[in-house]
Symmetry: C2
Subunit: 320 residues, 2 copies
C-alpha cells in the first residue's frame, strides 16, 4: 500500500505539460510498491504509472534505476520504461519529490505460484542477469552482509519479544555469515527483491518485471538465493524442492552456475533469509499495532533460515 503524497490536479497538469501524453483524464493512487507513492494516470494516450520517490529511496540513486530500466529493455527484457519529456528528461520533480512516469505493464502477480511459475521466474532472472552484464553504472548493495549487523542492533533489544531466543539465533548466524560470506563470485546487476508481487504474468507467461528499487551490483547467485527463498517455500514454511528444481532449471539453462557458485548456494540462501528476517524485524517494530498496513511476519524468514542451516549442499535445493 503506497500513497504517501497527495498531488493536486493543477500541479499534475502543469507537470504533464512537459510530456506528450495527451489530455489527463484521471489519476488514482495505487497500492503497488512499498517504498514510493504510485499513481495510475489515465490520459487520452492510455494508462501510465507515475512514481514519486519518497525518502526511503535516495534521490541520488534514481538515475541508476531509470538507466537500468532502459538498458534492460534494450536487451529484450520487459520492464516499465521511463517516459521522457519533450526535452528528453526522464526524471522530474513533483509535489516536492523526484518523480518519473512509466509505461503501464499489463499482467498480474501470482499469489500462489506453482512449479511452472517458478521455472518462468528462474528464466526471467537469468535473462535479467545476462541483459545487465554490460550495464555500465554500479550501485552498492546497501542491504548486504556488511550492513546486517547494524540492522540487527536496531532490533536486537526487542527481538526476543517476537520469537523467544531470536536475538541469540541471529547473533550466531550473523557471526558465521560475516566470516563465511562468499567472495569473488560473478557479479552484475541483481534485482534484489524479485518476490512474486514484482513479477507479472499473462496466462502462464511472464509479461514483465517491476520494482527495481533494490537493484544493485552484487553476486548474481545471491539473487537466485533470494528467489529460492521468495518462491519455493510453501505457506507452512516447508521448502518445495520441485519448485526449487524448476526455478534453478529455468535459470541454469540460460546462465549455468560455476562450481564455486554451486558450492556457495547454501550460504547465499542463509544470507538472503537473514536479510529479509532482519528488515522484517525492523519493520515489525516500526509499525504500530492496529495499523492498516500489516508488517510482514519475521517468523516466516526465521523458519526459512533454519531450513537453510540444515542443508548439506546445493543438491538439497534441487540442483542435480
Amino acid at each position: 500500500m503506497a500513497v504517501y503524497t497527495d498531488i493536486a490536479v493543477e500541479e499534475l497538469q502543469a507537470y504533464l505539460g512537459d510530456y506528450d501524453l495527451g489530455e489527463l483524464l484521471a489519476y488514482k493512487g495505487i497500492a503497488e510498491g512499498v517504498e514510493n507513492s504510485n499513481y495510475l494516470l489515465h490520459t487520452s494516450r492510455g494508462n501510465f504509472i507515475l512514481t514519486l520517490y519518497e525518502k526511503r529511496v535516495a534521490a541520488a540513486d534514481v538515475p541508476f534505476f531509470l538507466s537500468l530500466l532502459e538498458h534492460l529493455a534494450g536487451r529484450g527484457l520487459t520492464c516499465p520504461q521511463p517516459i521522457k519529456t519533450r526535452k528528453g528528461a526522464a526524471l522530474g520533480r513533483l509535489a516536492g519529490r523526484p518523480a518519473a512516469i512509466f509505461t503501464f505493464l499489463d499482467g498480474m502477480w501470482i499469489r500462489r505460484p506453482n512449479v511452472a511459475h517458478c521455472q518462468g521466474v528462474g528464466e526471467a532472472l537469468a535473462q535479467l542477469h545476462l541483459a545487465g552484464l554490460d550495464f555500465s553504472l554500479r550501485r552498492r548493495n546497501a542491504l548486504s552482509v556488511d550492513s546486517w549487523r547494524a540492522l540487527y542492533r536496531s532490533a536486537q533489544g526487542r527481538a526476543d519479544t517476537v520469537i523467544a531466543g531470536l536475538a541469540e539465533a541471529i547473533e550466531t548466524e550473523l557471526s558465521q555469515l560475516e566470516t563465511s560470506w562468499p567472495h569473488d563470485l560473478p557479479e552484475g546487476v541483481i534485482h534484489g527483491d524479485l518476490f512474486p508481487d514484482n513479477v507479472f504474468f499473462l496466462d502462464t507467461r511472464i509479461s514483465g518485471l517491476i520494482d527495481f528499487y533494490f537493484a544493485c551490483t552484487d553476486m548474481l547467485a545471491y539473487d537466485v538465493a533470494i528467489c529460492l527463498n521468495a518462491w519455493c517455500f510453501e505457506p507452512d514454511h516447508s521448502y518445495n524442492v520441485t519448485k526449487g528444481r524448476a526455478l534453478l532449471l529455468g535459470y541454469l539453462r540460460k546462465r549455468p552456475f560455476s562450481d564455486r557458485e554451486i558450492a556457495a548456494l547454501p550460504m547465499l540462501c542463509r544470507g538472503a533469509a537473514l536479510r529479509f528476517l532482519l528488515t522484517r524485524l525492523v519493520d515489525w517494530f516500526a509499525t504500530p499495532p492496529g495499523a492498516l498496513v500489516r508488517p510482514k511476519d519475521p517468523f516466516e524468514y526465521y523458519r526459512k533460515l533454519r531450513f537453510h542451516q540444515m542443508v548439506a549442499d546445493a543438491r538439497d535445493y534441487g540442483i542435480d
Copy 2:
C-alpha cells in the same frame, strides 16, 4: 486508502467468467473510498472499477446503492454504473465479500475548490435530488440526529483529550439539536457525503459523482448543509460566503428552497457539522498513533460548528 482484501488472479478470473468484459490484463488496488476495497481492472475492453464491500457497508444495503446508481443514470446524472453479468446480476460475491463491477469514470477531484467549482457542485446536487425524486427504494439515514448521542457516548470519555471542553460543547449542542432538529422538510435521496473527493471534474465541468455509500432518504436541504460544510470553508476554517453563495445559487436555480427550508438551514448546518465532528472523533480514537492512514482532524468540524452557532439566519450563508 482502501484495499482491505487481496484477490488472487485465479479467483478474479473465475469471477469475471460471468461477465462480458474481455480478457483480464491487469488489476491494481486503488486508494479510493474508505469503506470498501477498490480495484482498477484493466481488460481488453478498457478500465473498470471492482468494489468489494467490507463490513462497514451492510450487505443488505448494497442493492439500494446499485439500484440508485442505475436510477440516477437513467435521469441523466453521471455516476458509476454497475456492470451486469450475462445473466443480468449486478451484485456478486468475491473473496468472501459482496462485490460489484462499475464503469470507470474519467475526471479528477479538486483539492482546492474555487467559486466556480462550488457553483458546479450546487447544480450537480440539485440535479441528483431531482433525479432521485421518483426513486422507489428507501434507506434510513443511519448517521442522523437519532444516532448522534450513541456516537458521542462512544467517544465522550476521551473527547477532552482532543480539545479541552469538547465533551461539554458536544453535549450542549446535541441536546439543542435533539429538540430543534427540523422535521417535515422535503425528503428524498441524499448523497450524504458529497465532499470534494467524491466529485470528479474535467476542466471546469463536473464529469461525475462517486461514492454513494452514505446515500439514504433524508431531508434534501440537509444534503445542501453537508456541502456547505464540505466545500465553502477555507483551510483556516473561515466560512467563504462567496463560495457559499455560488453553491446555493447553483442549487437553488434548479431546485428552489421553500421558506421553511431556508429557515432551517442554520440548524441543518449545525447538525451536519456535528455529524462529521462525531464520526471523526470516533475515527480519531480508533486509529493508532503512527498509522499510515491519518484520521481526519475533528478540530476542523468543531470550528465549523462554532461558526454555525453564531449564524443569525440563512442570509449569512449567502442566500439573498
